[in-house]
């Protein structure tokens, strides 16, 4: 079975995710932790991130509505988001969280609101791109994935 076309696609997709700043080195670290004993580790941890972060985004949005002056609460919520984002290598997300935190310390409510919109967009985009990436990986199967020849 000739996987070279598929592999090229995977390689080029991953490269563009890195070149465009969606992902950073931490994502490679995750892939290194994947092996026969944990063949879907990256996809699983990324799925946990998206589940967790969707909840956090909702909480942040609600906090902006209900407690707009509580920048401490907002900062603390975004801090969690930023932390788990950085754990999976979500660079753009992490950077947008830093922007949000900066607005919090400036007590800039409008800035926070704009930042949240950006975070939601980045979140949706990354989710979609990674879903595509994992779909491609699934097509090659575990043996091909383990070879990591497209790194």
């Amino acid at each position: 079975m000739d996987y070279s076309n598929l592999r090229r696609q995977i390689f080029s997709m991953k490269k563009s995710l890195f070149d465009q700043g969606y992902l950073d080195e931490q994502f490679n670290q995750l892939e290194e932790l994947q092996d026969d004993s944990s063949p879907n580790f990256v996809e699983e941890v990324v799925a946990l991130f998206f589940k967790d972060s969707s909840r956090l985004l909702t909480n942040i949005e609600q906090a902006l509505e209900k407690y707009p002056q509580d920048f401490y609460r907002l900062d603390s919520l975004v801090h969690q988001f930023k932390g788990s984002g950085s754990s999976i290598g979500a660079l753009r997300m992490k950077n947008e969280c830093s922007m949000f935190k900066a607005h919090c310390s400036d007590r800039n409510l409008e800035g926070c609101r704009r930042s949240l919109q950006k975070m939601k967009r980045e979140h949706a985009t990354l989710k979609q791109k990674l879903e595509t990436y994992f779909q491609l990986l699934r097509q090659v199967g575990p043996r091909e994935r383990a070879v990591n020849s497209w790194k």
Binding site: Q29, S87, G89
Partner: protein, 203 residues
Amino acid sequence: MAVATETPFHVLAVDDSLPDRKLIERLLKTSSFQVTTVDSGSKALEFLGIHGEDSSPPVSVHEDQLEVAVNLIITDYCMPGMTGYDLLKKIKESTSLRDIPVVIMSSENIPSRINRCLEEGADEFFLKPVRLSDMSKLKPHILKSRCKEHYHQEQHQQSDSSSNECSNTTNSSSSSSDNSNSRKRKAEDNEEVLPQTNRSRHN
């Protein structure tokens, strides 16, 4: 010399973030540690056998958990309720737990925070995201604390036998006897460690 059947070291990992817990668990397992993860400082203390001020035996802990020694605790700093620092303090305040090495993880590089933790007795501070290369720093702390433990037990045994011989007399004779003691201890490791852990459960 029962080296072939060495039990892996057991690490208790504490982090309120689900993806982070999964990551630390994977990092630890890949590095051949046995892992238990909990999502809060209070659950960590429960697992370790402490209930706040009252150190009565835990009610909800399984029978087998009581038999499992924890060789190292790695905890996130920023957690709601009890922070990693609070947890560190509680561990160091406990006579039965204070020799267990504690590592703090944080996504923020704040020197005053790091110093505070180290001063309180943390053995290591990792900046998140934690990497595989960080895992190699854990075993030395575990081994160091075991040497301390063996030394304490040796002192205890020596005072029991009412011998005045100091264990730090020089020369190969004493070091070879130390070696044979530690070899013997290795084979009985689990039994040696358990009494201390059990004590912490049944205070």
